[in-house]
Amino acid sequence: MKPMSTTSHPSFIQATLAVVRKDLTAEFRSRELLSAMLVFSLLVIIIFNFALELNIKERQTVTAGVLWATFAFAGTLGLNRSMAMEKDRGCLDGLLLAPVDRAAIYFGKVISNLVFMFVVEAITLPLYALLYNEARIFQPGFLLVILLGSIGYTSVGTLLASMAVETRTRDVLLPILLFPVTIPVLLLAIRACNGILSGSAMDEIMPLLNTLIAYDVIFTAVAFMVFDNVVEE
């Protein structure tokens, strides 16, 4: 038999990108995850419309909250599905057999989940703006907060989803595991978005953004360190 290792092992970045490519290819063929997330976020926004009576005055104060609640709910849906697909089709076992650093698998999943999250946000935001005549959300600051918040949310979410998927009650469990941990992200992001919408001074918003960045860094680092223990067989 020919030795397999004539070609060198893929580098960390190559392995990460391979996982991302696999996920994106699978998703853009089936589109089952994205379509579910999108329809779901639209429905959530419609429910909020009735729940909060989103008239012009109310909208000023609740826009950030409604959007983040929508992203959080749609996010759990996507995270759950993305890990469940790996598990059900035995794909995760295949990934773990690959001679690559397991952290590369984690980062690959984070990046692809993040892409799905961004796609949903990129469609939900204009729709929200259209439905509620709220063009102020297209500010660089607002979009930056959404970027930072999504990174924090998916970095923890991917780790916890890979845990939840191994349990008996997986679909129910992920939000219960995830929400207590992501409350800081949601809180900081909502405050920062509100601050930006109401035109607060930058030095009021900066501490929130800095904390959000700190959260992203801390939790990505922790997840990076413990992911090996989660997927170990």
Binding site: V156, L159, M163, A164, E166, T167, R168, T169, R170, L173, I176, L177, P180, V181, I183, P184, L187, L188, R191, P207, L208, T211, A214, Y215, I218, F219, V222, V226, N229, V230, E232
Partner: protein, 232 residues
């Protein structure tokens, strides 16, 4: 099964005694607080349980790390014991605080940083037990439990700071350190101090006692699980 160690038996009795003494000190010995009145007496147990619960959570995270490093199942048994007792103690803290807040603040609950963080932390550890219950493989259960307690010990302080920066101002009394504007600083009379420090001591003893008993229970559960596997 090994018989209960004599030291543990003594600790059981000691726990009952210190609980009785702490109750006496809090309810009768400590003077009546001038502003808040009798309800302030709740405070001694409120701090006692909060202190042990928070230390217990940090301790559990340490045990979780010990498990992840050594993969020795005994750390997992210790970790569950610590989390379980701390979760109950913390629930007592929240309930007692709420009882105090009703007359003192005129409401059972406010979305203050400490109260909110406490509620989120409590929910986090309830989720911990739901996570464990959903996993059959003991090895995986232990690994996930350890990872989750580790995340919890990092997440709780971040939540606290996030709420502090996002909302500013608290009405929760400050016991240690400087009170900011709008907060009350608690000043205790010497008799109150005795009741206070004794309550801290008492709940620490009770925690250690429960912890030890819970570890023994955990070891028994482990044995039962292994026997079951042997039969099957």
């Amino acid at each position: 099964m090994t018989p209960k160690p004599i030291l543990l038996k003594m600790l059981d009795y000691l726990s009952i005694i210190v609980l009785g003494v702490a109750t006496y000190l809090a309810l009768f010995f400590a003077p009546r607080e001038l502003v808040m009145g009798e309800v302030q007496r709740v405070f001694y147990f409120h701090i006692g349980t909060a202190w042990t619960a928070l230390l217990g959570f940090i301790f559990a995270a340490g045990l979780g790390i010990a498990y992840l490093v050594t993969k020795n199942a005994k750390w997992d048994i210790y970790e569950v014991a610590a989390v379980e007792i701390s979760t109950i103690f913390f629930l007592i803290t929240i309930v007692l605080g709420s009882i105090w807040a009703r007359p003192a603040w005129g409401t059972w609950w406010t979305w203050d940083e400490r109260l909110t963080t406490a509620a989120i932390t409590e929910l986090f550890y309830i989720a911990y037990f739901m996570l464990r219950n959903g996993i059959e493989d003991p090895d995986r259960r232990a690994r996930f439990g350890a990872v989750y307690t580790l995340i919890g010990s990092i997440s709780a302080p971040i939540t606290f700071m996030a709420i502090r920066w996002a909302k500013s101002r608290t009405i929760h009394p400050v016991l240690i350190g400087a009170a900011s504007e709008g907060q009350e600083k608690m000043n205790m009379s010497p008799d109150m101090r005795i009741a206070f420090f004794f309550a801290l001591f008492a709940f620490t003893v009770i925690f250690v006692d429960l912890f030890w008993n819970r570890i023994r229970l955990g070891q028994l559960q482990d044995k039962v699980e292994q026997l079951k596997l042997k039969v099957m």
